[in-house]
Amino acid sequence: MGILLLQLFNGVSLGSILLLVALGLAITFGLMNVINMAHGEFIMIGAYMAYTIQQLFHNMLPPAAFGWYFPASLAVAFAAAFAVGLLLEVTLIRFLYGRPLDSLLATWGVSLVLQQLARQTFGAPNVAVKAPAWLEGGLQLGADLTLPYKRLFIIALVIVCIAIIYAFLYRSAGGRRMRAVMQNRGMAACLGISTRRVDAVSFAFGSGLAGIAGCALTLLGPIGPTIGTYYIVDAFMVVVLGGIGKLVGTVAGALGIGVLGTALEYGTSATIGKVIVFTLIIAFLQWKPSGLVTVRSRTLD
């Protein structure tokens, strides 16, 4: 029983990580239709920001303040990835709207450049990020059932992110403008919306979310120049499976892959589990090419 609950938790936890990684992509790829191969590198930027802020806190501030480095680095990671995203949109992406293949190639080039920049700046070996003390350990619910605080924190973080995105997209004037531009650019422009500015901010917002994901991932895994490449495929998988252009689909896709993936991995092995998950996704997309949740919009016509 303990193992079953633990596995369920593991599934949700994996789903939450996939979701965190895919949220930014749900905006840049899902809503804006930009195939952004550099998404993984925005994750990397977030991860290195966590490392940098940790070093700053460690070297400049008294030890008592160290625990606060993590919330600070979440904010900095978002800001840094947002800034780089904005720069990229202004200098490159905006010339590639509606040209998915070109944007794929160009952003892939950008990802290589960013990786090499990170290697020059931080060195080729991984760097270590020490988790703050309040995230060490776990919630003991039984002999077999320990829920690590880090995983619980990531689940909470994802919920907060989704709430913010939802509030922004559906409850604010900015979000309304953004959806208007994505669904019917010409009409939106006629009504006096500055589509350029909306594009730039949307892309930067998606990049910023990737930064937050990178920061959170430092709690669980490696921090190196190639960290983004581990998650990029999963992120695209979640967005495509979920149904392009729909936030609910992304959430369902991530949780589905997470729970199903861990169950299959437990039943078979990690390699076979992954193969089965991919096969099932391919089969599902054959049956429903537009993913779990479909939306009717001009971009998909």
Partner: protein, 425 residues
């Protein structure tokens, strides 16, 4: 509108070319920057001391970019240090060594191509390099066809002996087999094998399974995860359920970070479960965090803390040259003394001719930082001392056991009664 579009395409194309060029440049500048010192030095020396005459070109091929650069850059640094030291001491046969560095870029065909270039175009006397077994297997036919010499510095899965390769890292009977014996005697019989899904872990586990059968251990489970796998919660659930005495860890690369971080989060410490890793050295501990790994075990032939006078000198020199926060580890040491072994063999042979050097290398001894090493003439591997160490809070190892004397390399496990089972399959 149309011309506007055209100019945009041009702009994008230009940007991408610039981008790739930039990436290529940064990849190229690093090695040349580190060689330039030696190059100019060697040149001026040659000018003032023209009677000695000429340089001996030697090749280095490691991944300076891509996923393996994490490990290989520091081995390249150690090899460069050995070359510098040899040059400062007057070179070999009165000639300076001239290193030519190539980037294998973590890509096996690139390794083969660069090796070919070094042998055919640069006519190097010897090549030091490689890390993954895949890169070695790619280089092997090239050095055999071109009658070159290749020094390979990393522990590997054994079952190989090429007449053109010298193996200065451990083969299985110098690392994995003694580690399993030590675990069986000290930590328990129930083994859980965990590895990345490729050549090295699968071969290593094949050997371990035969050894467990022969020496009274039991196999609880055998799990593989794809390279680069980062979610170990399910594996940890399985470990919790099976309750093994020992997890024998052959995970490679970044997966180790994820596994050990998540193991600690799940509340499993080194007192609850013994893990022994064969791919985690001092360099990797830096990137995982010593607090995460404290108390876990590893098996190698060398640690930065290994107590020999040669090692004190080596560690000091390495830190002076590359920075106080740098660490040395087993492949770094093997890369370093490989250069010296070759230089000694050349001195003994009086020539850089491959066949003469090979003949001279037979039985050659050298006091490496990790203790005495000796080249086995039969298979061109090296006699090395086996050491098991435990990670301490400062990220260094404390040696808990060693083999006492250098162990004869046995890549095909012919000296073990169960070895035939492994080579047969």
């Amino acid at each position: 509108m149309r011309s506007n579009r055209k100019s945009l395409t041009l702009f994008v194309a230009a940007f991408m070319v610039l981008g790739t060029a930039l990436a290529a440049c940064t990849a190229e500048t690093k090695p040349t920057a580190s060689t330039s010192g030696t190059k100019t030095e060697a040149k001026t020396e040659a000018n003032t001391n023209s009677s000695a005459g000429g340089e001996i070109p030697v090749g280095i091929v490691h991944s300076l970019t891509g996923t393996m650069s994490i490990s290989e850059v520091s081995v390249k640094d150690a090899e460069m240090m050995a070359i510098d030291e040899i040059n400062q001491a007057g070179g070999v046969l009165g000639k300076k060594l001239k290193p030519i560095i190539e980037d294998g870029a973590s890509d096996w065909p690139t390794f083969a191509e660069k090796t070919k270039k070094l042998l055919q175009k640069d006519k190097v006397a010897v090549i030091f390099g490689g890390w993954t077994s895949a890169s070695r297997k790619a280089v092997l036919p090239v050095v055999e066809q071109n009658k070159g010499l290749f020094f390979y510095p990393v522990q590997y899965e054994g079952l190989e002996a090429s007449p053109n390769i010298f193996y200065t890292g451990a083969t299985t009977n110098q690392q994995i087999v003694p580690a399993v014996t030590w675990l069986l005697q000290n930590k328990g019989k129930k083994f859980f094998l965990l590895g990345s899904d490729y050549v090295f872990p699968r071969t290593a586990n094949k050997i371990i399974k035969e050894q467990l059968k022969a020496e009274g251990g039991t196999l609880i489970a055998e799990e593989y995860t794809p390279l680069g796998h980062t979610d170990y919660n399910t594996i940890i659930s399985k470990i919790k359920k099976e309750k093994p005495d020992v997890v024998f860890n052959t995970l490679n690369g970044d997966s180790n970070v994820a596994f050990f971080k998540q193991l600690k989060d799940a509340g499993i410490g080194p007192n609850d479960l013994t893990t022994l890793s064969v791919s985690i050295a001092e360099e990797e501990i830096r990137g995982i965090g010593a607090s995460v790994l404290e108390g876990h075990y590893a098996a190698w032939n060398y640690y930065q803390t290994t107590d020999t006078p040669e090692n004190k000198k080596f560690v000091d020199a390495y830190k002076t040259k590359y920075g106080k926060d740098r660490v040395t580890d087993d492949p770094i040491e093997a890369g370093y003394f490989g250069v010296y072994l070759w230089a000694e063999a050349v001195k003994k042979a009086g020539s850089t001719d491959v066949d003469k050097v090979k003949a001279a290398a037979k039985g050659l001894e050298y006091s490496a930082p990790g203790g005495k090493v000796k080249i086995d003439g039969d298979n061109q591997h090296v006699y090395k001392t086996v050491r098991i160490g435990q990670v301490q809070a400062d990220g260094q190892f404390k040696e808990v056991w060693n083999s006492g004397q250098p162990v004869k390399p046995d890549p095909f496990l012919t000296t073990y009664p169960w070895g035939a089972e492994v080579t047969k399959k």
